[in-house]
Symmetry: D2
Amino acid sequence: MIVVMSMGHEPEQRDAVVGRIRELGLREREIIGVERTVIAVLGQVYPELRDEFATMEGVDDVVRISKPYKLASRETHPEDTVVDLPYGVRVGGGKTVLIAGPCSIESEEQLFEAARAVRRSGAHILRGGAFKPRTSPYAFRGLGLEGLRLLAAAGAELSMPVITELLSERDVESVAEYSDVLQIGARNSQNFSLLDEVGRVGKPVMLKRGLAGTIEEWLLAAEYILSHGNSQLILCERGIRTFEVATRNTLDLNAVAMVKRLSHLPVLADPSHGTGKWYLVQPMALASLAAGADGVMVEVHPSPDHALSDGAQSLTPDNFDVLMQRARAVAEAVGRPLHALPAAASR
Amino acid sequence: MIVVMSMGHEPEQRDAVVGRIRELGLREREIIGVERTVIAVLGQVYPELRDEFATMEGVDDVVRISKPYKLASRETHPEDTVVDLPYGVRVGGGKTVLIAGPCSIESEEQLFEAARAVRRSGAHILRGGAFKPRTSPYAFRGLGLEGLRLLAAAGAELSMPVITELLSERDVESVAEYSDVLQIGARNSQNFSLLDEVGRVGKPVMLKRGLAGTIEEWLLAAEYILSHGNSQLILCERGIRTFEVATRNTLDLNAVAMVKRLSHLPVLADPSHGTGKWYLVQPMALASLAAGADGVMVEVHPSPDHALSDGAQSLTPDNFDVLMQRARAVAEAVGRPLHALPAAASR
Amino acid sequence: MIVVMSMGHEPEQRDAVVGRIRELGLREREIIGVERTVIAVLGQVYPELRDEFATMEGVDDVVRISKPYKLASRETHPEDTVVDLPYGVRVGGGKTVLIAGPCSIESEEQLFEAARAVRRSGAHILRGGAFKPRTSPYAFRGLGLEGLRLLAAAGAELSMPVITELLSERDVESVAEYSDVLQIGARNSQNFSLLDEVGRVGKPVMLKRGLAGTIEEWLLAAEYILSHGNSQLILCERGIRTFEVATRNTLDLNAVAMVKRLSHLPVLADPSHGTGKWYLVQPMALASLAAGADGVMVEVHPSPDHALSDGAQSLTPDNFDVLMQRARAVAEAVGRPLHALPAAASR
Amino acid sequence: MIVVMSMGHEPEQRDAVVGRIRELGLREREIIGVERTVIAVLGQVYPELRDEFATMEGVDDVVRISKPYKLASRETHPEDTVVDLPYGVRVGGGKTVLIAGPCSIESEEQLFEAARAVRRSGAHILRGGAFKPRTSPYAFRGLGLEGLRLLAAAGAELSMPVITELLSERDVESVAEYSDVLQIGARNSQNFSLLDEVGRVGKPVMLKRGLAGTIEEWLLAAEYILSHGNSQLILCERGIRTFEVATRNTLDLNAVAMVKRLSHLPVLADPSHGTGKWYLVQPMALASLAAGADGVMVEVHPSPDHALSDGAQSLTPDNFDVLMQRARAVAEAVGRPLHALPAAASR
């Protein structure tokens, strides 16, 4: 941590900063530059310290040097993390996976139709929402437990690992019972109670980035989960909020490439939420793979124009089939070929 | 809802849209303009419909006309809502209130020192954090239940209503037991499980705007709470996330003025979080009042340079005292004078 | 400048950094912390150096310490700058000024009607657009030279200094001939050729902040003008672009308060562009003054519903008259009363 | 255009809107819905009309239906535009082009070294900056005319078309004399005087998107150029400004895919400016191609750690060579293979 003194600060102000550093059991190193004096703080600093110094008189700024996340950092854990799922599916480690399925589980028929279609086209993991975060309280909010059961049944029948989002600490146990991966959505990316809870449950987790979440905050949210000893963690970029209104969100593929460098965790991208437009899903899925993503998650619905949620960004099974073919070509071009199909063998 | 057809759409595509409208039990009205044909959808539409039409062929765009929130809207509820708190304090209704106190409750001594100081200077409501949302899992996360008890004790001793944030559905009951107002923070502004829960509890709630929350989303989050029959709701603008890095957030006072027009709910502003710099708190508190806020909430700490959280944005008691004097002048200049001091009478 | 080395960097990488520092005629100071080694660079550094070190192997980050603007900084120029205009009007220095007039000059009648109204209500400076930056090439782009002549005539008749925007280096001379203040709009806030040009012309300039301009970039744009020896410079916050769509822009009053601290230049705010809604102009004008602005600029049109540009954000003369009364009260409440009316004496 | 009336508006307010529509020579069509009454405006509307109606009493909102750009729209011009350059290079039309070269032209030696390297690796077009837009007035601002001459000489010697940015209307003629493509940078994307000027000059233009430019504004800026009869126009996405600070900008590949759908113009991407980090350039260049870009532009410098500008985002010739090989594979995977090398034949 570097304390930058104001130009023209008083000697007593500098002394107060040094005094406070020593009071905290830390050491200081003062550097007198041409324009500025800075005081480096040595020892085991903690984030709050920044604020403490920032309010002292004669201090112009305080600059943090060390990264605030440790367990998520590639510096402290250089080798890639691979997340193991049922049916031999592994996320990370040089192969590309496709997660597909409906936004919401609406009925057994709708789910199984979507599931069979995506399995046939080559998807590895089945998604489906049972608890839906909806901006309006008047919108369809999911089938709940009934949806979880359908999802588990579809996964078992088709030999696919399944993933679903949870919204409440109260549902952690039941979601962990039925789903192979617990998804934390963008709106809960800083719901620290929920992060603590899924960190404790010991099942694979997929953590989406928040709508206004910086890369650093995203990795700190990951740190919450990792710090409970749960290392089976997948990250997922799903678009951030910017001034652009022609698309629902701005899929930030810079972040995918950057996080692959900063962290050892596998990173996926969700071009369905990242664009909000079904006709942008294919190009942005391919772009995600080219940017270095370990896979993509896309929404597929048997009849998007009758979907109870996110129809505008859902692919038809036919469009998904085309996407799979092109994804195969791009994945090979960038040296991360598609993962083998899930094995039908029992878990 | 208006369905905008593409230029050069096929007649069958138009027929399919009309067919779908009638299938839904709605009626259509077609308008053929110079460049475009649009089809107005008449009847009880719902938000999902937008997506349904957006995926149909030949459709270029779908424009929503009605506002998605009802209970929060001034159109359906023209008169101002006033939230009644203990000790005769009322939020909204033409008077200005000041909420003040430490970011985190750190100890009995620290809390009471801050509380006495802000009471003496004229604050109406005491704030103090017992459960702290922290970006890093390694930061101080609050005293929890012990903090709640201290806060309630301070409020009782000083005859001030108290407010504190809650992070978890599991804490709703205990927070409701000790605090007069339940605060939903920015990071939980779309934690719909928590919104449902505080909607049911029947105590006054203060709902902050999300870091990337639009005004519409904020009012829809309010709608979640109102739809459970809890109408004792206060809104609080606390800064949004933008590209500017010189300040912690960008306090959006446009939103304060706009929401006062769109909604009947009282609106406060939090210049401490909205700026992140103690030296900007006073000017932005005054600006908030001039923009039409029904009050402001500010962080005050006996010694900000030793605070366990948010020291950089906390005022000293002396600075808060100066702020109160200036707030009085501005509040009178805009015709919403300071509320009377809390009455020492029992609840 | 502080070079932060990666954890686990090689000794030769550290040596290369030190070597490069010395090759540049600078000195280094190495600090070995618990987690990181950082190398402080001492001497006359320049901004490009940051990039140079950032590309060297073993370097994790480079942190700039000194502020990149000098002439605009309050650290190097503590006392407030006051800009002197004709008719005894001064911007800055503790008094509040109001600039008002139509967005575009549309005709002699329209301009004079607006000008007389705002003069009558107590405005100090007359605004009017002769060259209009329009997002679409098909929109009304202003009367040009004819507009300049009308503006100068209105200013002379009513004894008010006038201000108008210029868009092209080619118009600098003619605008300088007719207008007392040259306005650089948000879209040209990084048009460096134009900044250079108005820096050379030696007349007062008002520089708006860019739609995506950080406070630092805004002060660096000011530095362009100041570095040509033109110190008669006014800054104007006019709203930044964020994700919020309910308002045209987000008026960033944090920036007003912050720039008053960082710089000695007078700062105004433009709530007309900053909100885009006429009904938000009054509350946000008052908020601007409370935040510390030295004045506000608002658009006034005799009949906004027939305006050729920006009608939606223009006040009627009657609404402006109300605004002036309330502005007087708020300006006094914050200790920066309204400036005296322009003196009718000749220039 | 659709005028949305407020709930509970007065009949006279509705009559005033209808009266104004007819006064303008337009026709109305009134639609009375369950909640709202809307009035569709039929005839040749213009953008200003929106503001006019928005200020009328009883009006809640005004919704635009038609797209404000015409010449840039694929609806009015379905077939792809291809821009023809010297040496047989064509931008658009199903082949992928690579533009490469140094950020700034620093010397004959530096430029030719970079140029030979990128030519050898397979780049199609040579870039080099002679006029540099710099945030700070104290930074290196380019060699000017001398730089232009060097660039033209390098292009001629290596048989490559060249591209360079211009900042000032005064330089249009000289840049047009030496450069095959005139680049308008992000900071001038709404410098309408300059857009008009390059529209008139009749040479190919590359228009970058602004830092805060929406897709619609970008296409309207294109419309400025196209409306002067210059149809040889290339668009280039170069990153937008968001809250994320880990990267210099956020490269918005959604926008690339979207503009390919909305417009017939070729679209490139600039991952150097779009990321600001040399190590992100390769993945994001590949992602750009996968998203549908007709090519990419990257900065290459013989020794980035000694560059006078943008060193941190410049590739070494070796890194560029690797990028070319991977770009070839991805370009083929998405069916838009690399363009043939420029022909050595004379222009």
